[in-house]
């Protein structure tokens, strides 16, 4: 099997999850761009492609960097547009009213906490895979996840209190 065939097989096997990674963090259109850029980089580094199960975290680590770069550019663009048009900046992530505050609470966490929770519970990665994506020790993942969950619970509780108070005030 030559490089092209190997890469296409890898692409077909991983594309749904790489795209989903983007869709869980960005708009659908931007997620497509991030997936595209991820595979451009992967192709460029194909000599360093890991074997077997290590491929997906390797790709997601690339996608994470591409996403960070995009988010930074997007923030710059929004600031510029805001200055030029004086229109209010768009919210980065809208909370879903059907989900009682979980997504809203997530957005109130630090980006590190958000990312580890999403990798674990949305992207369904193992501790070892999360460690590979984040380039940190696998031993620390359990502790980090636990702390992130604790903080998420705190924000969920805050959200419930706010909702209860607003309901009591008839807001």
């Amino acid at each position: 099997m030559n490089d092209e065939d190997r890469f296409e097989a890898l692409f077909r096997a991983t594309y749904p999850r790489v795209l989903a990674y983007g869709r869980r963090r960005l708009t659908a259109t931007v997620a497509q761009d991030v997936a595209a850029e991820t595979y451009v980089v992967a192709w460029r580094r194909r000599q360093q492609l890991p074997e077997g199960d290590a491929v997906l975290p390797w790709l997601l680590a690339i996608a994470r960097r591409v996403t960070a770069n995009h988010t930074r550019s997007d923030r710059r663009w929004r600031r510029l547009r805001h200055r030029l048009s004086a229109e209010p900046p768009l919210p980065v992530v809208a909370s879903n009213g059907d989900m009682p505050g979980v997504r809203a609470a997530l957005t109130r966490l630090s980006s590190d906490d958000q990312e580890i929770l999403r990798l674990a519970y949305w992207d369904d990665l193992s501790y070892d895979e999360i460690a590979a994506v984040l380039s940190i020790s696998a031993n620390s993942i359990g502790v980090r996840l636990h702390r992130a969950r604790q903080r998420l619970r705190t924000h969920l509780a805050d959200g419930q209190l706010t909702q209860t108070m607003e309901a009591a005030r008839g807001v």
């Binding site: 092209e4 890469f7 296409e8 692409f11 077909r12 096997a13 594309y15 749904p16 999850r17 795209l19 989903a20 869709r23 869980r24 259109t29 497509q32 761009d33 997936a35 595209a36 850029e37 595979y39 451009v40 980089v41 992967a42 192709w43 460029r44 360093q48 960097r65 591409v66 960070a68 770069n69 930074r72 550019s73 879903n96 989900m99 009682p100 979980v102 997504r103 997530l106 929770l117 519970y121 949305w122 380039s135 969950r149 998420l152 619970r153 969920l156 509780a157 419930q160 209190l161 209860t164 108070m165 009591a168």
Partner: protein, 260 residues
Amino acid sequence: VVYEPHIPIDDDLLPLLREANPVLADDLADPHSTAANQILAAAMDQTARRLLRPSRVALRRPRIIGAVAALALVALIATAATYTLVVNWNRHAGTSSALDCVASDQADAHITFDPRADNPVEACRRAWPHLFGTPAPGSLTACVDGSPQGSIKVYLGDIGVCQANGASSYGGATPEQRRLADFRDDLTAQLPEHGCIPYDALQHTVEATLAKHRLQGWSITPYENTGVPTRTGGCANVAFIDEPKRMIVLIAGLAETTKQ
């Protein structure tokens, strides 16, 4: 106000988190869809670029000692000439809308770049902490690599790093590259966020926008290598812009046009 928290314990929190997942397992994309094929084709398009990179040519061992000495002399002269050329010669990039920030042999990042408003070193310096998780190093140098597409690479170190990597120092953006950046913005503004543009209409728009920005010698061509039909109906979009070849590549047969 009666506050009755029902803060979920871990076992309850996990299902909540999973339910909040915006993309469930059933919603995963088809890896054989048109969009997937488009992305694969765009990634593999790097093939041609990589294959065209200068390759190392193995030298045959000369049989005569005199020939060895002559070769050594030629090599010495060539090295000196190359050094002079590379160190003193600023080169314009062949591809001006993106660049690579290179942290090491194992870590680089591809970022977009606006040749009108930015310089490569500052672009990498700002992005560095986000890309590599460390503060930007003190010394970075912008180079143009030896590939036919002439990519901008920002390396750690001073001007000597360009030579060390077989590259030339970056000579800034050309007037045409600035007009090309204007062209990209203008074309993007003309394309709808969503909807459908037929191939011919898109081609007409691209032609008019090229002329408006005085980009001469550019061609418009359909993308034939994606495994999807081109120029046979459906919606069209710009697949990519091949700056070194002065080529705008369009793709058709899409279900919907989305802004690139």
